[in-house]
């Protein structure tokens, strides 16, 4: 099942601060909703265990995340691949870090996901909306962390 998402967050800090945050695996790794554990391997790779509940399908996903920063373009991309409870998820997500001109930053994000297994089987009903919610929550968490 192929899924596509997009959205934006206005963050009350400078683009440089946002860029530094999203390039730090130790920080961005904890922005995933329902995160159980984050293990940083190197500056661009970390593993995260997250709880997922989509309709009747519930369990934990073990995700491998690779950060693909491009400071010159003020953009961050990431590849997420993993699975759990017989399901698999492949996700590519990216965000443009846009200077709003008033000392704040707009994070314009988008992503594409492919889900397989039981988690995809519920897709027709709730996966799409639930995944959109979770991804939006992840970027909202970025805003919250930086706002604090």
């Amino acid at each position: 099942m192929n899924l596509q998402y997009s959205g934006e967050e206005k963050i009350p800090v400078s683009p440089a601060a946002v860029l530094a945050f999203v390039n730090d695996p130790g920080k961005v790794g904890h922005c995933f909703p329902e995160v159980v554990d984050v293990t940083v391997q190197d500056p661009t790779h970390f593993e995260s265990i997250v709880k997922v509940g989509v309709g009747p399908v519930r369990g934990t996903l073990k995700l491998k995340i690779e950060l693909l920063p491009d400071p010159s373009l003020r953009r961050i991309d990431m590849k997420i691949a993993g699975g759990g409870f017989g399901s698999a998820v492949d996700l590519t997500a990216g965000a443009d870090i846009v200077d709003a001109g008033d000392g704040t930053t707009i994070l314009k994000w988008s992503g594409q996901a492919v889900a397989r297994g039981p988690i995809a089987a519920v897709g027709g009903r709730v996966l799409d909306a639930q995944a959109q919610k979770l991804i939006a929550q992840a970027f909202a968490n970025v805003r919250q962390q930086l706002s604090g």
């Binding site: 017989g86 297994g117 089987a121 897709g123």
Partner: protein, 782 residues
């Protein structure tokens, strides 16, 4: 000496099922109830990808999970010569655990053995499989193009599994071309699943003598024993298969599944009993599915509605392996019954089957080898023809039925129908439903813009495989067997090669013995499912038990009766030729007062046998001379809500003719169950895959089973035209309602929507699909 009245519970009596007290009290004994000291649990790692190369399988973390004892992969099995299983018809093989690549989502990839079920599941979760996704082929029409070769392991480098054809191709073409009227329609019988409430499972262990004790959910225990001997190399006498109570089967428990082989390998490798019980999701996603036939139906007719020719071209989706358990001479099963109840002068049918990245299977779900698909195709076709010609659907059928005086009837596609009275059966159905009044009501409602439909299905089935000259599983000819032992007190035991999954054999087999020997059915025990004690048989599926094993029981009982006659003659102090079996007792011809009962003879067989061989028992292996041809006339009445697409099945009358009825209550129960399954397929059931090969129907929230709330009220009746070649005249009935009813439902809904111009709707006819059909038709009409 006593006079014997008709024995209790003999043929034709609605005897309450002997097995039910233990079932309704929760005292059934199922595989998952078994527990042995030291027993381990097996959990299977399954593919998340529909088509992918396996780069690596890392079991390191799984072996660290507390309680995990071992993990095996496809490579381990391949090294042991157990990497592949032959499929039942013998023309393909199936991976036990994936080797090199996976071919469908939820395919078995690795087996984890642990001290507890939870530890086994945790261990399976910890196995790391690195997949490289490959292009997915999710439908047979894409497969046909051969752009992605799914099975490079096969000699033939194509996704086409087989092309099968029967009938007169040129003759059908000529007749269609010259027919005054002609219809053509593609109909799809969707992929569905039998979904027995008890999923598949087993317990395997090697006893102190090194003998494999294999408790398994099997509809065909003897075939399993032979298949396991062939696959594993274990001598067949060292294999003991026991199939205990089964919580439904419907064909789902015929194939040998990878989990069974893994459990046996685990038990051998670790030296402890191993239990494997699949989950609901595993059952729905990896075990034998049903149907997935795309059928192009063409019928030619004269202007006044006499059929002139039939041609059906089918594209079949068999999934990743050709595991449809068809007899080796019939790769498309007995789809040739597609001429149905009609006197087609010429016909031609062809089936092209293809591999796809879906679960393998194809013939389960209460279907005698593709008969359900065939029946659906012809019954839809006849309704479309009636619509095309503007002839009443019942009248068109009457005009084209095989007449009673034409039996035995040689069909255009090679079958010899044994018996039937189709006109009578339809008449009974139409009278019961009040057809004329319904037509009047429908006309009035249509005038008001209301959507009411009447759907007919007048089907003919073909069940009871063998004959052995035509049918086999893995080369084993299809016959069946019975052994009867009558004890000194007149009680007895019957053992057969069949295996009940709810059909009520413990009752009906006892009733046959009661009928043939004049004994009390309540005192006749029935035992099945144990290969150490039951005579060799091919099992229970495809409505074959009564036509084949029922006949074997009858013949074995008659053998006993012949021996008993000698003992009776001794007791009556008469010559054997002067003793006759009449009114359920032996009597001296012309002297009714001088008689003995079978019970008295049984006692004498052990106490006063004179020069006769002691004991009273017999065995019979029955090879049927022909199949039997049950038939029926079904009528559905539906009301469709124009605004929501909701279909209400207002009435459903089912008139079945299954020949001699042994237990009318059990037959009625079989019909109720089958109609409910037919209703489910017609309206709510489909194993759906998305374009990426994801199975979207993995549990009972997505794959629906009707409850009593959704199920319509069934009205049943019957006619009886005995099979002339079955010793009791019986035909088999278990599958008839499942075979006959889907077309009645679809014909009714399409009839309701026909004023809008709707010509066909594929199953399942969900509310949204019906609603869209209404909206599309209305928008087209403007």
């Amino acid at each position: 000496m006593s006079i014997q009245a008709k024995p209790l519970h003999s043929v034709g009596v609605p005897m309450k099922r002997k097995e039910d007290p233990r079932f309704i009290q929760g005292k059934g004994h199922y595989v998952d109830d078994l527990s042995f000291p030291g027993m381990l649990y097996l959990s299977l790692v399954r593919s998340t990808y529909p088509h992918a190369e396996i780069r690596s399988i890392d079991i390191t973390e799984a072996l660290k999970v507390p309680g995990v004892k071992a993990v095996i992969t496809g490579k381990d099995l391949e090294a042991a010569g157990l990497g592949w299983l032959p499929t039942f018809h013998g023309f393909d093989k199936q991976m036990v655990l994936a080797i090199g690549k996976v071919l469908f989502q939820y395919q078995e990839v690795a087996a984890v053995f642990a001290e507890t079920r939870a530890a086994a599941v945790d261990g399976a979760e910890a196995v790391q499989v690195d997949y490289a996704p490959l292009p997915v082929v999710a439908d047979p029409f894409t497969s046909k193009a051969d752009k992605v070769l799914l099975r490079p392991d096969r000699e033939s480098k194509t996704n086409r599994i087989f092309h099968w054809e029967v009938g007169d191709k040129d003759g059908a073409e000529r007749a269609l071309a010259s027919s005054a009227r002609r219809i053509k329609q593609r109909v799809w019988f969707q992929r569905c699943h039998p979904a027995p409430l008890e999923p598949c499972g087993c317990v395997a262990y090697f006893d102190t003598m090194g003998r494999l004790q294999f408790h398994v959910t099997s509809q065909a225990p003897h075939v399993y024993r032979t298949a396991l001997a062939l696959v594993t190399g274990i001598a067949e006498d060292k294999i003991h298969v026991i199939s205990p109570d089964l919580g439904g089967g419907f064909g789902n428990k015929v194939p040998v599944y990878p989990g069974y082989v893994c459990a046996i390998v685990g038990a051998l490798k670790i030296g402890r009993p191993v239990k494997w019980i699949e989950t609901r999701t595993e059952n729905l996603t990896s075990t034998g599915f049903a149907r997935d036939y795309h059928m192009d139906v063409e019928i030619g007719a004269t202007a006044d509605g006499r059929v002139t020719a039939l041609r059906v071209a089918t594209t079949a989706d068999h999934g990743a392996f050709d595991a449809a358990a068809d007899p080796s001479r019939y790769p498309a099963g007995i789809f040739g019954i597609v001429t149905g109840s009609y006197d087609f002068p010429v016909a031609y049918a062809e089936v092209d089957a293809f591999f796809t990245n879906k679960a393998p299977g194809g013939i389960a779900y209460r279907c005698s080898f593709r008969v359900t698909e065939a029946s659906y195709a012809i019954e839809r076709g006849m309704d479309i023809l009636a619509d095309e010609l503007g002839i009443d659907a019942a009248e068109l059928r009457r005009k084209n039925f095989i007449r009673k005086d034409q039996f035995p009837y040689p069909s255009a596609l090679g079958f010899t129908y044994d018996s039937g009275d189709y006109h009578k059966t339809l008449d009974v159905a139409l009278e019961r439903i009040g057809y004329d009044a319904l037509l009047k009501e429908q006309a009035e409602k249509r005038a008001r813009g209301e959507l009411m439909g009447i759907g007919l299905s007048t089907f003919t089935e073909v069940v009871g495989a063998g004959p052995s000259k035509h049918f086999d599983i893995l080369g084993i000819r299809m016959f069946d067997s019975a052994e009867i032992r009558i004890h000194p007190t007149g009680a007895g035991i019957v053992r057969t090669g069949t295996k009940s999954q709810g059909q009520g054999h413990e009752t009906t087999w006892a009733q046959i013995v009661a009928e043939e020997l004049g004994l009390d059915a309540g005192a006749i025990m029935v035992e099945e499912g144990d290969t150490d004690t039951a005579p060799y048989g091919l099992g229970t599926y495809a409505s074959r038990s009564t036509p084949v094993a029922g006949a074997a029981i009858t013949m074995a009982a008659r053998r006993i009766r012949e021996k008993a006659r000698k003992i009776a003659a001794h007791l009556l102090e008469a010559g054997e030729a002067d003793v006759e079996w009449t009114d359920y007792r032996f009597q001296v011809k012309g002297v009714p007062a001088r008689s003995v009962t079978m019970k008295e003879v049984a006692f004498a067989a052990y106490t006063n046998m004179a020069q006769n061989e002691p004991g009273l028992e017999a065995t019979y292996y029955y090879d049927p001379p022909n199949m039997t041809y049950p038939n029926g006339a079904y009528v559905a009445v539906v009301d469709v809500d124009r605004e929501t697409g909701e279909v209400k099945v207002r009435r459903f009358v089912a008139v079945d003719d299954c020949g001699t009825v042994i237990n009318p209550m059990i037959v009625e129960g079989q019909i109720h169950g089958g109609l409910t399954e037919g209703f489910a397929m017609a309206f709510i059931q489909e194993i759906q895959y998305d374009a990426e090969g994801n199975n979207l129907s993995t549990n009972f929230t997505d794959y629906l089973v009707p409850t009593s709330l959704e199920t319509p009220h069934w009205e049943t009746a019957g006619t009886v035209t005995p099979s002339p070649h079955h010793p009791m005249g019986a035909k088999g009935v278990g599958e008839s309602p499942n075979v006959g009813s889907p077309a009645a439902f679809v014909n009714a809904v399409v009839d309701a929507l026909s004023p809008l111009g709707v010509r066909h709707i594929d199953m399942p006819m969900t509310r949204d699909k019906v609603w869209r059909a209404i909206r599309d038709a209305e928008s087209t009409k403007g």
